[in-house]
Symmetry: D2
Subunit: 345 residues, 4 copies
């Protein structure tokens, strides 16, 4: 049994990790840290865990955590992960960092969008934890930079057409819509029920921090510099991200050939589901699951392809993908503990 | 592997059964019937099943179903189950009927609330499928009358205090609130998004068909005739039933003693969770799980006890409980395929 | 034109008052106070007011407010209203207090449920601002204790049967359900979208501060001491309260006679709508309006009457009723500025 | 008092018209037709109208309607309006048609997207009822083609930049999101609460019938043929459309200059609100009102402008705009009966 620590376990991502891991046949969660709720049972904060675990949050030092665990998930805010990751690595632990701290290869880009990096020497050791693109590297890695929620769906949606050079790379527009859990459990006016309910708005238009992460990975796929217009919106649902992506085709392809291209590209990827012509993803079909659903349409009149990707932001967009990475790093079947059917209705 | 048929598989209950059973290690769903969608893949109607099953709905005759299956779930409307159950039983099949057709012991009561019964001779063979009360009978049964969604929570909430005669049986008021999936997937104005969203109302006040079922089981527990005032309401959520139950105490008991009484009563029942003093159930803590959560308060001023029970109406209130019954009838661990953590947020 | 001040204008109740008053033909809102948002335009905090008002929140002293206004709405938390009301009254202003500070006639009861009262001498001058019961007193009053949201619907639902002594006063159970705006705009975990959405729970069971207010008014109606079991719940909607009230009849009456009794009792009350037999209120039919909708059912088997009342908690339960009171105090038509059709869907 | 008929009054648009008109000081609704609900009081179908009107739906012939009314709103499905409009016009009535039957100037385009036109000779007499662009024509018109819900926001969002030739007309992408009431009150699986709730999806990608209507009006504004990629999505809210529009700038302009351009362009249009830099529309700020809110961002990196427009689809997108047109046709103030503050929260 793998001994697991969740560092920063009281947010939505932390509890989602725990939800998966309490049912994972090879995982034993031994430490859950939280400064805010130290000493309290998890089920006091998240009653859904009642009778499933009697664990309490503790305010453990990195030393304590390292002494108890083999694998450590960092579910702390950006900037805090880079403070503790070096120590854990030095102690030989495997780290899956759900923050942005090691996602951007260029420390200058990181520091422009986030803050001063205090362990930038580790960036090159980190592997971007998108198994569909980096599976082999992940199996060897000690430090995983678990992808952001928006980037996960967008990158998977564009990888095949970028690799095969079907689209004009200057034409990419990403119109994304996320459920409210994407903002975490922090107290903010915008996250109040009465503010989000029956509302819909764009936010951080072309200034969201996931933009450089998306552009980095799309550029690696295209083999040249790709920029995108990225506009996130807030949907009044708890979970789910759907991205509608527009690009101009630079060579002809039919929808059925796109379907074929994607099915082939992702033939070994059980968490990517490709939709046949005329059918499209819906966040309600991935809710609670680790799937990324992808569908296509062509706008013949304008020569554009429209690619739609849906994920559960807490699963494939965070905790589910993190456990998928843990499985790969540990030699377990990639879907162990993740064979969840989405909850509908 | 148990060969399973779902007779009437295209409603919400049918798809929920399938969702559980595709992950059940001992079940092999071999027939899904639907007149409406015959010939269509399940994933056309419920895309959440994409890549999980390539089965199609068929319009199989009872003969065909019987020839292929060991266990048959009847997820058809009231009145249709009683038409086919006799044949299946005669063929030696095990039947779990999710309709009301065999729930009421007194055929006159059934016929008053529903319609003429065409196989009333089977009523005495049927076992009321509430494992927490009838576990032993269920293990021996061939015909299970799977409880209604409202009765499940209400009966579990009241069983210990009725058995121990803590409450005045003439004082019971049941104020229940259900999510919209309780109405099924039928087209009706009241089930439209715009009609239910941001709304809340009572319906079928003191005339809901679950009233005689609740009263039958409470009377058996009390050892005398119990009547209740039962008022269901509609909550604008997809899943969940919370019942707030009021009764006058006829002997004193503290909340902590109630907690103790219930924990003891349900000590072997992993799907019943008893809440400690000062904490109360919420439907969001049982969503997608097979739990029934129960909590208590006392109104000292008026001498009343308030008992609150929450379930997921599609799980413990229908498909989850049906699989729990299947497990018991088949000698499997009671929670096989049902160890689902509730989906929150 | 009446010069109006809203003291504590940045909460949901304050903005609802402003929403009504910007369209009121005889009202001129001249001061909006807010410590938190002082200096900011209202439309920065509530963009719905864009182009409707260019007013800013100010942090005005009571002296400044008094010098500018004829009528002052107090939309501050409990305990703050009693600090400023005496000064405003002394300056000859008319006060409509939306807090609980002057609602309870017995200062000991107030101090038990709230805190030490600092201007209890004014309690006897205050009129409980429920126009349907106290219209004449309101027209003469200088200090209105605007009723709580839960009490408004419950009192209107019970007044006729209590006055006419149809019900056993020891049998009253009030099961209420409120939308999330009832908790105001304060930051709390329970008010977050992801916590309330798709959830339903009871809270403050038999310990909610509106209990003594309800009991006070019911006792006055009955002419003797009435106690109730009051259990509030939280519905995942923005607005609306529906109360389901149970009582044992002590003399026979049919539903149609109840309808007749209530229509007669409220014949001069345009904001009370009585539902005919077989039809019941829904919060979606009062959303955004000042109506209180009331319907009835009998449970013949148990001898109970079930009375259901629905209001919009921000309107008839707060700001709408406050403006109704202002109209009465000022000699305007009672529904001036309040002739709003509810927003459905 | 203008005598008004609503032909096809029982859908969401019909009831929204009635909601506005019962409070309109110059309108007297004398006929409400509905085949389905003939003989029933409006308040049986929409209880929100209880005590506000005692009118019943009737199944009146066009002759009867014409004999009673001065102005007739056609709120019937596409294809039915063109059957009755000729008769009403012949009888000298003013017609506001909320269907698509007279929106498309080119009958061939209409017949491609809809069906055979039976009164195409009237198309040239019809005025496209977008007051901000066609106010003068509307005041003279007898037949108004009230715009579609999606086109209303999109056209208003693009008119100034198209007229001033700031954008590359080949670059326009319209990503729109609509609440569920856009689908009307018809029974369909996709409109069920459980299907739409907690979901989000695109539909009719680049094949929605509003595409040619959008392109027609944008082409007229640009003075040359404009094509757009138009992708509508479904948001789980009752009301509201938000469109996020992307276009490549062909000459430089700052956000503050865009704001200035739009404020000038719409300086006489009280129902268009222009957002300052850094603030963006939200459907919750227009709910229940007749506003169209417009905001802007620039993506410097890619040279694109992002324009966001929000309306209430039942108000500015249907009934509100229809009454605005009626006011203009009748010489009433443009906002008579429409001075509604949006309902938030």
């Amino acid at each position: 049994m793998l001994k697991i620590g969740i560092y920063g376990a009281s947010g939505y991502t932390g509890q989602e990790l725990l939800k998966i891991l309490v049912r994972h046949p090879e995982a034993d969660v031994v430490v859950l840290t939280s400064r805010k709720f130290k000493g309290l049972p998890v089920s006091d904060i998240y009653p859904a865990f009642k009778d499933l675990t009697d664990q309490k949050y503790i305010d453990a030092s990195p030393e304590d955590v390292a002494s108890l665990c083999d694998v450590i998930f960092l579910a702390v805010p950006h900037g805090e992960a880079m403070e503790v990751a070096p120590y854990f690595l030095e102690k030989g632990k495997k780290i899956i960092d759900l923050s942005a701290d090691y996602r951007l290869r260029d420390v200058k880009v990181y520091e422009k969008w986030y803050k001063k990096h205090t362990s930038s020497n580790l960036i090159q050791r980190a592997v971007y934890g998108l198994p569909e693109l980096y599976r082999n590297d992940i199996t060897e890695a000690n430090l995983i930079a678990n992808p952001g929620c928006y980037p996960t769906g967008v990158i998977l949606a564009l990888a095949p057409v970028l690799k095969e050079k079907y689209i004009d790379i200057s034409s990419v527009i990403v119109d994304s819509k996320s459920g409210v859990s994407g903002a975490g459990r922090e107290l903010s006016i915008g996250s109040l029920f009465c503010e989000a309910n029956e509302g819909f708005k764009a936010y951080k238009i072309c200034t969201h921090r996931h933009t450089p992460e998306i552009e980095q990975e799309l550029s690696l796929l295209a083999g040249c510099n790709v920029t995108v217009s990225f506009v996130p919106h807030l949907i009044p649902v708890s979970r789910g991200i759907l991205s509608t992506i527009y690009a101009t085709l630079q060579r002809d392809i039919s929808v059925s050939d796109l379907v074929g291209l994607y099915k082939k590209f992702y033939r070994n990827d059980i968490f990517v589901r490709i939709y046949d012509e005329g059918t499209y993803p819906n966040i309600s079909c991935v809710r609670g699951s680790n799937y990324c659903d992808i569908g296509f349409a062509l706008d013949d009149k304008t020569g554009r392809v429209i690619i739609i990707a849906a994920i559960d932001n807490l699963m494939k967009g965070a905790a589910g993908q993190a456990v998928q990475n843990m499985n790969l790093m540990s030699g377990f079947p990639e879907d162990m503990g993740l064979n969840l059917v989405s909850l509908f209705p």
